[in-house]
Symmetry: C2
Subunit: 98 residues, 2 copies
């Protein structure tokens, strides 16, 4: 079961995530990042890689795609906020996009 | 080059699309439909099939996914509204989801 990120652990995670472009969502305990690729095939190819990772983690993103752009929001439903699952998935997304 | 759907052709297309759950978007010449699948794998599997079709058509959806739900908006940028491309892609999406 996921645990809600709080206090120093939360602050540290947000600082690290912030360095790669993740930002807190206004009015909601969640993080957001916009990924821009070269074209649709690259964008959707990345989404496919992430989808397999997410399914294996049993932790899924909220995301939208318009051509080469993918907007991602991460949060953990069970804790109604951020958990280590979000930090892990965010890092995997960054790695797959790099 | 795509041509904007207008008049009787537009009305007829919207009627047919309406029968399978596509609706006009408020304040924008576009159509929208919510697809709900059994789980994430089914939802993303369908998106993958659609992505290949869309890339072949060089006509891409605006879509968002949260777990088993996919929200789709279709419009044709070149005509700033609906064209036959949207009608074709909508029908292909329906067929792949059925």
């Amino acid at each position: 079961m996921a645990e809600k990120l709080e206090g120093a652990a939360r602050a540290e995670a947000l600082t690290t995530l912030g360095e790669s472009g993740w930002a807190e969502v206004d009015g909601r305990d969640a993080i957001h990042k916009t990924f821009v690729f070269k074209n649709f095939t690259r964008a959707f190819g990345w989404m496919t890689q992430v989808a397999i990772v997410a399914e294996k983690m049993d932790h899924h993103p909220e995301w939208s795609n318009v051509y080469k752009t993918v907007e991602v929001t991460l949060a953990t439903h069970d804790v109604d906020g951020l958990s280590a699952l979000d930090v892990t998935l965010a890092a995997k997304m960054d790695r797959l996009a790099s």
